[in-house]
Symmetry: C2
Subunit: 521 residues, 2 copies
């Protein structure tokens, strides 16, 4: 087999059987190999930002990495922002980046660039395969390096792809088991939780907050009188009926600082010590008070379930019941459509086992509290702060979980970053309902402008025009239709509720252009 | 004034008075400064790929750099592909990349990344400003480093932006004059051109082929019996009535190799020795035969006009007339709409002083030959091979030249990379007519698949599906309308011709969704 075929077989042998791509000339042998090697589902995206966002959403829901196939340095550059988001969310990804043939590089053709240089800042592991007989081994190493939480980026020169590899593919790579948390660490956590101090257990980061983990953490918190929360943007959280009551740290640093001001001891599970998303004049970067002690019970790559179980045993908390949400659905809303009534409709109609992909920024603020007691669902957050993630992540989540309804909550501004994702939803007939909160503003930036105190917090006319995306207004119904996705516009709560309910009952991609006011009206 | 204000003043003092941006929280003080400092036109784009593409198109037509304002590492990542294209085209750009406050970096907030690392591969100069009192000096250095052909990327931490800078702004930066080409080099060129060998003068690269330069090069070629051509993708070329007849090297390496097989001496002006765009099994990377001598008359940064004038003097070619295109318009086409009839209509109706931005790939192949004798126009090529440049470059060209009609020729696949550019065309009421050659294929990749010889040159069904963007078909009329751009669909040559003629007579953004067959039908 040639290098491309041995690469492809090595990926599928390890269960990496989805590849998001937009290939170019240097990747044609990889593309050709799709018809020679069984078992790889290759998903075409019209822009590489969609590719990396989809790989992120896929990995979170499939609990294994997807591969991406990217076209040289610029293709990786286009993917970079969503690789960054995945890296910050500790989501694994195996990027394959095509390059010119090794002997062609020194001619400095138009698409030649320092691909390793571009890959470095967003990858944990970077490697260029140098010969066809190395590519299977290199791919296996990429899979091992990606593991369950990391970004591995492997460059595939065209001649490595088309050259013969007599050695063939590598067998399945075994990913190391997560590290056990030591008895000493468990004992120390127990002492701290029983110290009588004001303790808070903080979960999240790249550690999935599953139903079971939430229950165990709640048992621990209840047994010790500790508080329990997640950080602002945990990668994945099980929510709704039957899940534990877990607070979420507020986004606004001012509010988060106030929330933590009396906390004396933070017990961290996956989450890192919370910091302000941005710096602001006269606002501290660290959220917890300087006197607060931090204790890391477990990092993302540790055995979280074992840590929780051991701690429950150490605290003798096995009989303590967790605090659980019971089902309590919002009423279907009436009247004006706004962030609150839209949230009510979503909470009311959300079906069992839905996956919510949240990049709705300011307009989505009411959805999380209102869905806390909705039917059981998983919630994926934007982990790296680079907008343009949601639509793409929804593509990946839907491919990972074809039996579950994916609901993608998007701001109008963030939707426009990777709007091309809609086409892949249509092409792959994915069961995604996209809600665009169309408020014709970068509403978050109006808030942030005030928070930075620039110009006394009040934008002048030129600054205000940079925050305003309503001239011209964007018509997402037209754009979605243009990419093959059925779409409707909702201007009242009743319209939105009916359209959302309808979308929950149907299968396939659907977009609702929800006309909502911005924070500033 | 604060750092942001001194930065802004330093830019405008040096005539950098356009900034393409999509700012975020870390850039709010820069945004605020727009209302405090006179003279900066700030153009909002919905995605950073549009920003850098627009800065490229602007600089080519304005003959001075634009600035960009980008949001941390991911914002720069989104811009990266079109910065790459500009770098390969030797187009100057001054990128300002906001970052977290210096003291906030070590907290590793979600948007923290190695921005210098991302910037390095696509910049000639990278620097992080470390204090408010440095920012004006650093900005002046960025302008100097960008000069007329380079990429300068300056990181602006938020506290450098909001801190006080008592020193204020820097005065206008003087860009060094281009280097004179030595008498010895001119004499050597004259000897080579008069050697009796088969000589070819090749212009292009980042060197603009102006009307005057074309005439002079043609005089030289005529006086010496040399051939005259440009490389495949020169950055900017004056074409049409009254311009010199200058051949263009073919894109296909096989054809280019054949074209140059008898050339014994290449005289290079701006252009580099031609190389194959990609590597293919059994196709040479270098286009010129191994025996061909190369002589660099002038590099991009040299004084091209002086070099040509001196060479004319050395050859005593001042009286030799250049070979000039006379006006000869194609007939308006009738019948089926395809690459040829669309090109005829464009050539027939193109108004005087139009600017053609070409990213039409396979479908645009007939436009260049047919417009060779059209009314005078400038032609901008895609210089770095990363698709998603055209619509964005058209935005910048239209802002640089508000009195000229910009015609953007786009493939459907490449259009989707930065489709968000349409919104900025509508918002700024730019006089751009976009022609989408909608053939529902990555047609170039069908050709490239065959050229690479993968799977015997014949894609299997899975490979074929990766080259097919017609499931679902994209409706560019709907998408453009959704972003506020008037749009029509053309399915016959008569419809296209009438719509294009109408667009040429009107002012403002307009899109034509031209339904054409792909190369493979």
């Amino acid at each position: 087999m040639n290098g491309a075929e041995s690469l492809l077989s090595t990926l599928t042998n390890s269960g990496i059987d989805v590849c998001f791509t937009n290939p170019g000339t240097s990747e044609m042998h990889f593309v050709a190999a799709l018809d020679e090697v069984e078992g790889m589902r290759c998903v075409l995206c019209l822009f590489e930002g969609v590719i990396s966002g989809a790989a992120d959403g896929y990995a979170r829901m499939a609990r294994k990495p997807a591969s991406t196939l990217l076209h040289l340095g610029p293709g990786l550059g286009n993917a970079l922002a969503n690789v960054h988001n995945a890296k910050k969310g500790c989501v694994p990804m195996v990027n394959i980046v095509g390059d010119h043939a090794t002997y062609h590089l020194h001619y400095d053709a138009p698409l030649t660039s320092d691909i390793e240089g571009i890959a470095g800042p967003v990858s944990h592991w970077v490697h260029t395969s140098e010969a066809p007989e190395h590519i299977a081994r290199d791919a296996a190493e990429a899979i091992r390096q990606a593991g369950s939480h990391r970004i591995a980026t492997l460059m595939l020169p065209a001649d490595v792809s088309w050259g013969e590899n007599p050695a063939g593919a590598e067998p399945a790579v075994s990913i190391g088991a997560p590290a056990k948390v030591s008895t000493e660490r468990i004992a120390e956590a127990a002492i701290r939780l029983r110290s009588g101090k004001n303790c808070m257990i903080m979960m999240g980061g790249g550690t999935e907050v599953t139903l079971e983990r939430g229950h165990k953490a709640s048992q621990i918190a209840e047994a010790c009188g500790a508080q329990l929360c997640t950080d602002v943007f945990p990668t994945r959280v099980a929510r709704g009926e039957g899940t534990a009551m877990i607070e979420r740290l507020p986004y606004l640093a001012e509010m988060a600082v106030d929330r933590l001001k009396d906390v004396e001891e933070l017990i961290l599970i996956g989450a890192k010590s919370p910091v302000s998303f941005f710096a602001y004049p006269d606002v501290p970067s660290a959220i917890a008070p300087p006197s607060c002690e931090h204790f890391v019970l477990a990092e993302n790559e540790d055995d979280i379930d074992q840590a929780l179980e051991s701690l429950i045993a150490a605290l003798d908390a096995g009989e303590t019941p967790p605090r659980i949400h019971e089902l309590a659905l919002c009423d279907a809303p009436r009247g004006d459509l706004d962030a609150n009534t839209a949230a009510m409709a979503i909470a009311h109609h959300l079906p069992q086992d839905a996956v919510i992909v949240d990049e709705a920024i300011t307009s989505g603020i009411a959805v999380a509290p209102m869905t806390a007691t909705a039917r059981r669902h998983d919630w994926l957050n934007q982990t790296g702060g680079s907008i343009g993630w949601g639509l793409s992540a929804a593509v990946g989540a839907a491919i990972a979980c074809p039996q579950r309804k994916v609901v993608c909550l998007e701001g109008d501004g963030s939707a426009m970053y990777t709007i091309q994702a809609l086409w892949t939803m249509a092409r792959e007939e994915l069961d995604v309902t996209v809600v665009i909160f169309n408020n014709r503003k970068y509403s978050i930036l109006e808030l942030e402008f005030a928070r930075t105190g620039a110009r006394g917090g009040v934008p002048g006319p030129k600054a205000a025009s940079m925050l305003d995306i309503g001239k011209p207004n964007m018509d997402f119904v037209a754009m979605a239709t243009g990419m093959g996705v059925k779409a409707t516009r909702a201007s009242t709560a009743e319209e939105f509720s009916a359209q959302f309910a309808g979308a929950m009952k149907e299968n396939g991609p659907r977009l609702i252009d929800a006309q909502v006011p911005s924070l500033s009206g």
